[in-house]
């Protein structure tokens, strides 16, 4: 049941039933959950390289708003600042050959989004570290519907961003 409450924006990874890691003692403290994520096709081969989603938790995100116009405001039960932080450890010997550039964009009603993908190499282990932040307003009035819809469509591109990785020869099979 908690699982439904923490539905991920993307569809590539599916969480198991989470367990509570930290139950807040005060209102100001956050509630922390821990869950295992499972998915397939995290990396797909393209030519001699592999493509890995830059933001795995957001990969597969599809904005629900598709109608060109709307007569009523859009209400979001879950509004505010969302931060998706991912760390993906690549097989030893992998080499990142292309990364998406960092970007920021502003949207209506104070919404904005920011993406950054970096590579960290430590003891021969390459880790992709990505951070995606975006703000969702609680109510989108009809007058702002078109610009909010356009903002979400641009945000959805973050789910399609990939990192190109040269795989080590000995592990050519799909990870």
């Amino acid at each position: 049941m908690v699982k439904e409450e923490i539905a991920l924006p993307g569809t590539l990874l599916q969480p198991s039933e989470p367990s509570v890691r930290n139950f807040p003692a005060k209102n100001s403290e956050p509630l922390a959950f821990e869950a295992t994520l499972a998915g397939q096709n995290l990396a797909v081969p393209v030519g001699s390289a592999w493509l890995v989603p830059a933001h795995p938790l957001f990969a597969g995100f599809a904005p629900e708003l598709t109608a060109p116009s709307r007569r009523t405001p859009v209400w979001y039960d879950e509004a505010g600042l969302f931060t998706l932080l991912s760390k993906v450890k690549l097989p030893r010997g992998s080499k990142v050959t292309q990364l998406p550039m960092p970007w920021e964009m502003d949207g209506p009603l104070g919404s904005r989004a920011k993406s950054q993908v970096e590579v960290e190499e430590k003891d021969g282990v390459v880790t992709l570290i990505s951070r995606l932040e975006y703000i969702v307003p609680p109510i989108v009035p009809v007058s702002e519907y078109a610009s909010w819809k356009a903002f979400l469509e641009r945000l959805a591109k973050a789910g399609q961003e990939r990192v190109r990785v040269a795989w080590p020869v000995e592990s050519e099979s799909q990870p």
């Binding site: 081969p45 393209v46 597969g60 598709t66 292309q98 550039m101 469509e153 591109k157 990192v163």
Partner: protein, 670 residues
């Protein structure tokens, strides 16, 4: 035949309030049983059967009857309302009388209401609800009721387990008089199903710690076999009855069907048939006109599903008046229309499911759920793709007026290999469906990509579908063009968010050259490219196929497809790994890149597993365009449960191929 249902007695007892007042004698010894506990109870269960008995008997007319005794406990933490609902044909006065009687006798409010749903017949789909409202946690209710003719004319009683509620102890058996009359009961439990059963007598079974049906069904996944291949059931049959062989049942059913058809208003049907075929000269165009009428102008309505006579069709006159019917009603009307113009046809009993199943040795274990029609063409008629090539109706044209995607004569979606029963006096009425062109659920797809120098993408889609894609079926059932556009936009949104749909045309089978449902769409996406360093990625053209076709068994990994077995107590109960419908996809793509874009062609790939064949190949054309062909198909079949993980992996690999993006770079940089 007047089906009857008798609510013989409903008794409620809450131990602290009504003990000894309304508790039936049988419940008193069982009241002392401890509250149900154990891992057969799911966290969401609110009621549990403390003790239950189902006695199967025979009426003087040799119909199966049932007598239920259930002692239920509210095992939840809150007051709960218990509701039983049955198909019932009582009048309002009778229901009010029952309600008043129950209130007077038991001092307990029991609302009894009659629900006249959107019935297509005054005798169908009346429901009786019996409810005990707001029963406190820990309290028990004793329910006793009798069902007579509740299953219409069926010469068997299949008793599915588990029930809606978990049961600590449940006994199911034949009454002595039924055994003496030649009734017998068989129990089937798939290996490893985890349900504990023991035989008390030759005709009585007891189940302990039986989880609820909901607890087992919540983890259904697309690759499992059908429920009866995984779950136990009991089947009661009567010696010498039509339930003992398929041939006897085929005759019995055909007789009952003909009696129902005899109620047709022949003058009205003939008048309509003559109007529909007016101006048509040849057999095919005449029959097609009749088929199209039933396929398109009679909307599907399953509201008679719970009717006591749900095995038999509504009278064609009734369907004509309401223009609504389920599969049987549609077939019955079409059969009458065909007969009115001198064309013979035979109803076919089928079972149609996405999950794999096999019929058992008796008609009661076949679990029929569908009726289609075999239509006799004139002698020496030219072959049609949907002509049956074997069985007692060899040469007849297989047609299903419930399936809206293929026109008469075209192969039906996923019927190849299904067992079928021809209703009539045939020595061998059971056969396996095989048609001139295999009746696969088939989708033919063409996509044209045009990437401009600025990176804007223009897409043309052409799809012909005979019933594989749920999205296309949804489009057919949505006449409003703006709603159709919304369905297509939503289907494409994961691939091309914000893409503009500039043109959309849907052609029904009768209007489409292929005889299947056809879709044409034009799409513009100005922001389709996603930067990747100095290069760009673009959603692959076959990703649109996956999105629009919503391919069966090829979704992205999701819980419902996870290899999590459904079983009692969370244990393994995977007894198979199958697909119920054979299917195929033939997809072609053409990619035109302008303005110096370069694309490294993917290597051709061809892979075969027993359950899935996949091939993809691309080539560069002299004109600078690229052409791709992708073929996918899966047979109907069942494979060892141990191969399920391998199967899921193979589907995920193919899905990965299908959704793989194109990486584009600028020529100047090379």
């Amino acid at each position: 035949m007047t089906p009857r249902f008798h609510l013989a007695l409903v008794l409620l007892a809450a131990p602290q309030l009504l003990w000894g007042f309304g508790t039936p004698d049988w419940a008193k010894p069982h009241m002392a049983k401890p509250s149900p506990k154990g891992d057969f109870l799911a966290p969401e269960d609110t009621w549990a059967i403390v003790y239950g008995e189902v006695s199967i008997g025979l009426s003087p007319q040799k119909r199966f009857t049932e007598h239920w005794k259930l002692l239920l406990e509210n095992i939840g933490k809150n007051p709960e309302t218990l509701v039983f609902s049955f198909a019932y044909d009582a009048g309002q006065d009778e229901l009010e009388e029952i309600e008043m009687h129950v209130q007077r006798r038991f001092w307990h409010k029991i609302p009894v209401s009659r629900k006249a749903a959107t019935a297509t017949s005054s005798r169908a789909t009346s429901a009786l609800f019996v409810a005990a409202e707001q029963v406190e946690p820990g309290r028990r209710i004793a329910v006793e009721l009798s069902l007579q003719d509740a299953h219409g004319f069926l010469p068997w009683r299949a008793f599915h387990l588990p029930l809606s509620y978990p049961a600590a102890q449940l006994r199911v058996g034949l009454e002595d008089h039924a055994v003496s009359a030649g009734a017998k009961i068989v129990f089937r439990a798939p290996p490893g199903c985890g349900i504990e059963a023991r035989q008390l007598t030759e005709a009585t079974w007891e189940f302990l710690g039986l989880p609820s049906a909901q607890a087992l069904e919540k983890d259904e996944h697309a690759f499992q076999t059908a429920w009866d291949q995984r779950r136990p059931y009991l089947l009661a049959t009567l010696q010498g009855s039509a339930g003992e062989s398929f041939a006897a049942f085929a005759r019995y059913y055909a007789n009952a069907w003909e009696q129902a058809q005899a109620q047709a208003d022949t003058a009205e049907v003939r008048k309509l048939a003559e109007a529909l075929v007016a101006g048509k000269s040849d057999w095919l165009s005449k029959v097609r006109a009749l088929c199209e009428f039933v396929q398109n102008d009679v909307s599907y309505d399953a509201s008679t599903l719970k009717s006591v006579e749900n095995w038999l069709p509504l009278a064609p006159g009734e369907t004509l008046r309401s223009q609504r019917a389920d599969c049987k009603g549609k077939v019955a009307l079409l059969q009458s229309l065909l007969a009115a113009v001198g064309v013979k046809s035979v109803p076919l009993l089928l079972r149609v499911e996405d999950q794999y199943f096999s019929w058992g040795e008796l008609p009661g274990t076949a679990f029929f759920n569908h009726v289609a029609l075999a239509i006799e063409p004139p002698p020496n008629h030219a072959p049609l793709p949907a002509m049956l090539t074997q069985g007692p109706l060899r040469g007849f044209v297989l047609f299903d007026p419930t399936a809206e995607t293929p026109a008469l004569g075209n192969a039906l979606p996923g019927y190849e290999g299904l067992p079928a029963l021809a209703a009539g006096a045939f020595p061998e009425p059971v056969f396996e469906v095989a048609t001139t062109q295999p009746s696969l659920a088939r989708l033919v797809f063409f996509v044209r990509y045009h990437v401009s120098a600025s990176g804007a993408l223009q897409v043309t889609l052409e799809v012909a579908d005979n019933g594989l894609s749920p999205t296309i079926s949804q489009l057919l059932g949505t006449p409003n063009p703006s709603q159709q556009a919304e369905i297509v936009r939503q289907a494409l949104q994961p691939c091309l968010p914000g893409a503009k749909l500039t043109a959309l045309r849907i052609a029904k089978p009768a209007e489409a050259p292929s005889g299947d449902c056809e879709l044409h769409a034009e799409i513009e996406a100005t922001q389709a490219l996603t930067p990747l360093g100095s290069d760009f990625t673009l959603p692959g053209p076959f990703a649109l196929l996956g999105a629009l076709a919503n391919l069966p068994n090829l979704p992205p990994p999701a819980p419902r497809n996870a290899p999590k077995p459904a079983g009692s107590k969370g244990s393994s109960c995977v007894t198979g790994n199958g697909t119920g419908r054979a299917w195929s996809v033939e997809a072609r793509a053409e990619v035109r890149l302008e303005g110096g874009w370069l694309w490294e062609l993917p290597e051709p790939n061809e892979t075969r597993w027993p359950w899935l064949s996949f091939s993809e190949s691309w080539q560069r054309n002299p004109a600078g365009t690229y052409s791709g062909v992708l073929l996918l198909s899966g047979p109907r079949g069942v494979w060892p449960a141990e191969q399920l993980a391998q199967r899921l992996k193979s589907h995920a690999l193919v899905w990965g191929r299908l959704t793989r993006p194109l990486v584009l770079s600028r020529q100047a940089k090379r």
